[in-house]
């Protein structure tokens, strides 16, 4: 792919929007799950009396929060996928098609140029 094509697309407003959206989403998710995970780890290491409190029957706070880690993982994965489908995929598909078109165009130009070159050489001979 030609560098100037990409430079054009990379400076495109839509690409900047895609990039901002992805970064914001990724940072939110990383912040949420790492924060929640390390909070849980810290509680397990340093707040053991709290973790030992009974919650439901024989299930204590530690086990309950542990199972909630599973739930939060599923929920975050689902939210990410839904957001990506709605807000990222259409933009990236549009840009990808455009990049493909530009490349095809350039390829055609190159072929026409080569053909012209060939004909010129032929007539000269």
């Amino acid at each position: 792919m030609q560098a100037d094509d990409l430079a054009g697309l990379a400076a495109d407003e839509r690409f900047r929007l895609l990039k901002t959206r992805f970064r914001r989403l990724a940072l939110t998710i990383v912040g949420a799950f790492l924060g929640w995970y390390f909070l849980y780890i810290a509680l397990s290491a340093f707040a053991r009396d709290f973790m030992a409190l009974p919650a439901i029957g024989n299930v204590n706070v530690a086990l309950l929060l542990g199972v909630l880690q599973f739930v939060s993982t599923f929920v975050l994965a689902w939210r990410y996928t839904r957001y990506a489908r709605r807000m990222l995929d259409p933009l990236s598909a549009e840009l990808r098609d455009e990049a493909g078109q530009r490349q095809a165009e350039r390829e055609r130009e190159r072929r026409i140029l080569a053909e012209r070159h060939r004909i010129e050489n032929w007539t000269r001979r």
């Binding site: 792919m1 995970y37 849980y40 397990s44 290491a45 299930v59 994965a77 990410y80 990049a99």
Partner: protein
């Protein structure tokens, strides 16, 4: 009977491997299975690659003996997948077969970067491989019921260990060098289905014994744990209060490595490229999250169920580290449902699943490291990026053989050592050497070749050095070297807490201190390609 069921697994997977051999034509097929796997298929294979015997038998055993603390492993192993989910599409779009494709995309000195990536990939894989194979050797004695001092069909336990390691080694070399990514992927899929089926059956039967009331099961487990009252609370195994702050930091360090290591494991990364596009890659990680999550939730029932139904004394009598808890549980619940015959059948089934699990995981690791050796080192360093495709595939097949033989040799050598720490170390190395380099390569405009190389080697050597200087090696109660030798200066057994920031630091310092200019245009190209998939490697034939 275990052997019979396992033989069926072997025959089926061999058939699949031979079929895969016939349809494997070039590098795209050998390294990436033709990029023709669907999201769900690859999701099953990801889960298959990830759920090792260490997590099936090991975590069930840790939960059975240490209660709540065993559960922490499961949580770290699952939560880590969210990071993978965020990176998978970018890596699928930007790369071709390996992590090094992403790292070297805009690097000025590519051979250096490729070499570093190959060194890291092979090191992490071999450490993980040796741990799995030693585990397999120890397991077979337990599965066949050979106790120390006894013989089984004239084989002593020691000989059985060596024979198992050799047999596992031969099988994995065959799967990989013959079937490539296609064969290995199908092996993973079959194994994942078997493993999920086995654990689901066990879980349902166990919970059924307690009227599907988990609270009752926990109560019964607590009563028979030998540590009633503490069994369900944190602190029995990791970061014991007696060890003070060092023990707790060690525990946090382990947690960091688990959660950051997964996205950098070579056999997981290699799997990102087997699907047609980024969307399928995302789907496959979502499937893996579902499967891995369900599996680790079920290990709770297996572990606590084993304590409740088998009892802590009976478990430690069979194996002090609890690796047989899941098997003993299978026998116990089988018996309670269908008498002694039922117990034998369920035990045989779960035993065969455990064997299949080991075999599949080691194959994935051999594939990842031989891919990296052939594609990164041979193809891009020795042949300057212009190897013949057939030549590169031949080298990959041969590398699988070399790495396989080397790991078998190592595993036989250290078969009697307690190498369980190697799994945690492999995660710590992946988190320190690979993850910082991947993240900076994708998101930091100024990042350059020197930065990649410093980050990768810094993380790799840093984590190995810290473990060598820790109580794992010398001066601790469970050290590899005998008591009088003591040169430990680093107090933590898990290096992640220090080695991961250190690797980031190395990568940043390397970038800023070198005179090499970053290429902003290449970076724009990379980020455009990573985020949109423009110019990404498509499947050879339309799926």
């Amino acid at each position: 009977m275990t052997i019979g069921l396992f033989a069926v697994f072997i025959v089926i997977t061999l058939g699949v491997t031979i079929w895969a051999r016939v349809t494997t034509k070039g590098t795209d097929d050998f390294y990436a299975g033709g990029r023709g796997f669907s999201g769900p298929q690859n999701g099953l294979a990801l889960a298959g690659d990830y759920m090792s015997a260490a997590s099936f038998l090991g975590i069930a055993g840790i939960i059975a003996l240490s209660g709540y603390d065993g559960f922490l492993y499961s949580i770290g192993f699952l939560v880590a997948w969210l990071l993978t989910l965020l990176l998978v599409e970018l890596m699928r779009n930007a790369g071709r077969f390996t992590m090094a494709d992403v790292l070297s995309y805009r690097a000025a000195r590519r051979p250096m970067v490729r070499t570093a990536a190959a060194v890291s990939t092979v090191t992490v894989s071999v450490f993980y491989l040796v741990a799995q194979m030693v585990g397999a050797g120890a397991l077979v004695g337990l599965l066949l019921g050979i106790h120390p001092g006894e013989t089984f069909m004239g084989i002593s336990p020691e000989a059985a260990k060596v024979i198992t390691i050799l047999a596992v080694g031969m099988m994995m070399i065959f799967y990989v060098s013959y079937g490539g990514m296609k064969g290995t992927t199908w092996v993973q899929i079959i194994k994942a289905v078997l493993l999920m089926a086995g654990t689901t059956v066990l879980t349902v039967l166990v919970l059924g014994r307690f009227g599907f009331n988990p609270s009752d099961m926990l109560g019964a487990a607590d009563a028979r744990s030998g540590q009633p009252g503490d069994f369900l609370n944190p602190g029995l195994r990791y970061g014991k209060d007696a060890d003070g702050i060092v023990g707790k930091l060690d525990f946090v360090s382990l947690a960091v490595a688990l959660v950051l290591g997964t996205a950098g494991l070579p056999h997981i990364v290699g799997r990102f490229f087997t699907v047609p596009d980024a969307r399928a890659a995302r789907t496959s990680v979502n499937w893996a999250i579902g499967l891995v999550g369900a599996f680790y939730l079920m290990t709770l029932a297996l572990g606590f169920g084993a304590t409740a139904l088998v009892g802590q004394e009976a478990i430690t009598a069979q194996d002090p580290s609890g690796n047989t808890a899941a098997l003993q549980l299978a026998q116990a619940v089988g018996e309670s449902v269908a008498g002694p015959v039922g117990g034998e059948i369920l035990l045989a089934f779960i035993g065969a699943v455990a064997f299949a699990t080991i075999l599949a995981v080691v194959s994935g690791l051999v594939l990842a490291s031989s891919t990296s050796l052939a594609h990164d080192f041979f193809g891009h360093v020795l042949m300057l990026g212009k190897p013949k495709e057939s030549q590169e595939v031949a080298v990959a097949r041969f590398s699988a053989f070399v790495i396989g033989v080397f790991s078998v040799f190592l595993a036989v050598l250290v078969r009697d050592m307690n190498v369980a720490f190697l799994v945690a170390l492999a995660f710590a190395m992946a988190a320190s050497a690979n993850l910082p380099a991947i993240v900076l390569a994708l998101f930091w405009r100024r990042f350059n070749s020197t930065g990649v190389v410093c980050g990768v080697y810094g993380g790799l050597l840093g984590s190995i050095a810290l473990v060598a200087l820790s109580p794992v090696m010398s001066g601790g109660p469970r050290s590899l070297l005998p008591p009088p030798i003591d040169f430990h200066v680093f107090p933590l057994e898990n290096p992640g807490l220090v080695s991961i920031p250190f690797a980031f630091l190395c990568a940043v310092a390397g970038t800023l201190l070198s005179r090499e200019k970053a290429d902003p245009e290449r970076y724009s190209e990379l980020s455009l390609r990573a985020l949109t998939g423009a110019g990404a490697h498509a499947p050879r034939t339309k799926p």
